[in-house]
């Protein structure tokens, strides 16, 4: 600390010890910058919640040995996507050894994982300040007249830095407070409601068809959300399951249902009983999810401040995979490189920090955000959450149910099923084409 109010206390203040914040703090401390990592939870991770699948290849570029060091749960070698109807289930089940060598995705529990990651930042020299809520940004008029972020206020304390990193999560209060990012519309947001269910290791392995340190990730659409846009998930941890629904807010409000009804409908669905029976609830949580995709990214830098991770709207729901954590890490790599460059050059204005957006754009983060830019609009199409699952189930019912009537070609069966379904052929083609283009 210094007596001169205009002299920064640190090179960088990082707000939020999630994946974006801790990786940013780690990489900057590694380079010898003075970094404080402020976290409102008593312990890093204690306020953080994800569905639980981390596509971890990008983390390996920062921590090559993270799989051995970090408290990861299981290595995902089986991805199952299921259309549920009230009384049937149709699944696409992909399992491959190739997903284990190299490891593509792992399940994590954030309260355990994030404390490890913040510890890495601390080891590298970042000063961790847990149990502190940042109340507001300190701003001053910059040389160009525009507001410049010069620090943060927490209670009666003020801390100053050359750069503040807002890694404060999807609600992004800091970026909102200075008008950098607007409050997102409800069709860009979803609420995730999750339970963690304890289950013996032997039951997990037999029910999900995995063994050792391997695990499965199930994505479920259709009847599980009461027709509300979104889906369900069921992931295997070492000795527990992560189970939940993600519900798009505009659709939830339109539906007349509550988030609680949708969650309870899903967790009691007969199609899930084979996996869950005998399990014991050990935690109940929720998280607001950024689902706006590319249009939601918007402004990520201003004089003296960068926005990283889900605070910058970085999340992708492609229908098959739901991603946020890997994008948060990718944004942290871009942010820390840009900040190191800006601090070295002595220019931490918006122009000096422009390397952040450039690096983001060049990296997989924005490339993937652009690739899936059409996905949110596609997934807003209502057929995805009811009629399609029923249509497929109907086709398969006629294909497998040998009731003594003469068999028909599958195409004929499908045509008849389509006639019975509320789905119009024109709509099926339109949605199918949109799906191919979006995903």
């Amino acid at each position: 600390m210094t007596s001169d109010a205009t002299e920064p206390d640190f090179d960088v203040i990082v707000v939020g010890a999630g994946l974006a914040g801790s990786v940013t703090a780690y990489r900057l401390a590694e380079r010898g910058l003075s970094v404080v990592l402020i976290e409102r939870g008593d312990v890093p991770g204690s306020k953080n919640l994800s569905g639980g699948v981390l596509y971890g290849r990008v983390l390996e570029t920062v921590f090559p040995d993270y799989l051995d060091e970090a408290p990861v749960e299981r290595r995902v070698t089986r991805h199952v996507t299921t259309f549920l109807t009230p009384d049937s289930a149709v699944s696409l089940d992909y399992s491959a050894d190739g997903l284990a060598e190299p490891v593509n995705a792992v399940t994590v529990l954030r309260a355990k994982f994030d404390v490890w990651l913040a510890g890495k930042a601390e080891e590298a020299g970042a000063f961790l300040m847990p149990g502190v809520r940042v109340d507001s940004l300190l701003t001053e008029p910059g040389p160009d007249g525009a507001a410049t972020v010069v620090g943060v206020r927490a209670g009666d304390d003020e801390l100053r830095a050359r750069v503040v990193v807002a890694a404060d999560g999807v609600n992004s209060f800091l970026a909102r407070s200075v008008g950098l990012r607007p409050k997102p519309p409800t069709n860009h947001l979803a609420v995730g409601v999750k339970a963690v269910i304890r289950l013996p290791r032997v039951d997990i392995e037999s029910r999900f068809g995995v063994s050792g340190d391997r695990g499965a990730a199930h994505a479920i659409v259709g009847d599980c959300t009461l027709g509300i846009g979104g889906g369900g998930f069921l992931y295997t941890n070492t000795e527990s399951l992560s189970l939940g629904v993600v519900l798009r807010l505009d659709d939830l409000l339109r539906s007349g249902h509550t988030a609680i009804e949708a969650f309870e409908h899903f967790t009691q669905h007969p199609g899930l009983a084979q996996y869950l029976r005998g399990g014991e609830l050990i935690e109940y949580g929720s998280h607001l999810v950024a689902e706006g995709g590319y249009p939601m990214v918007g402004e990520v830098a201003m004089n003296g401040m960068l926005v990283a991770g889900e605070a910058a709207g970085l999340a992708i729901n492609s229908g098959l995979t739901v991603r946020g954590m890997d994008l948060a890490i990718g944004s942290a790599i871009a942010a820390s490189d840009a900040i190191a460059e800006a601090v070295a050059s002595g220019d931490t204005s918006e122009a000096g920090l422009a390397g952040y957006r450039r690096r983001l754009d060049e990296s997989f983060v924005m490339q993937d955000m652009r690739t899936y830019a059409r996905a949110p609009k596609f997934l807003e199409r209502p057929g995805m959450y009811g009629p399609y699952g029923e249509l497929i189930a109907d086709v398969l019912h006629h294909a497998f149910s040998l009731d003594g009537t003469p068999r028909q070609h599958l195409l004929t069966v499908a045509r008849h099923a389509l006639k019975r379904s509320p789905v119009a052929l024109r709509q099926l083609i339109s949605d199918g084409w949109a799906g191919v283009r979006a995903l």
């Binding site: 994982f113 847990p130 809520r133 399990g279 050990i282 929720s286």
Partner: protein, 101 residues
Amino acid sequence: MGGGASTVKPTTVPERLAVNSFQVDEDESHIVVDQELCRTTGTGAAIIAVCPASVYSEQDGLILVDQAACLECGTCLAVAAPGALTWRYPRGGSGVSYREG
């Protein structure tokens, strides 16, 4: 293995919240509703519908707030009309404390 034929035992929201760890801030509520705006803008009904923790309920036309149950997701704020809801994170160290996450 596994025993009964049923799925995970059905639970109520209070039963689910009871397994969590909370540090309640007795001095400061992080949630304040504007009753008038909650009524006139429909925010009251919306926040009741979206909150996974039943923080909000309605009694005699008033929105009641059980801030101790809050999971701190911010979904209520996302659906609230401007001014109808003041919602911030609880003070450092208080509120929900995930052990799994």
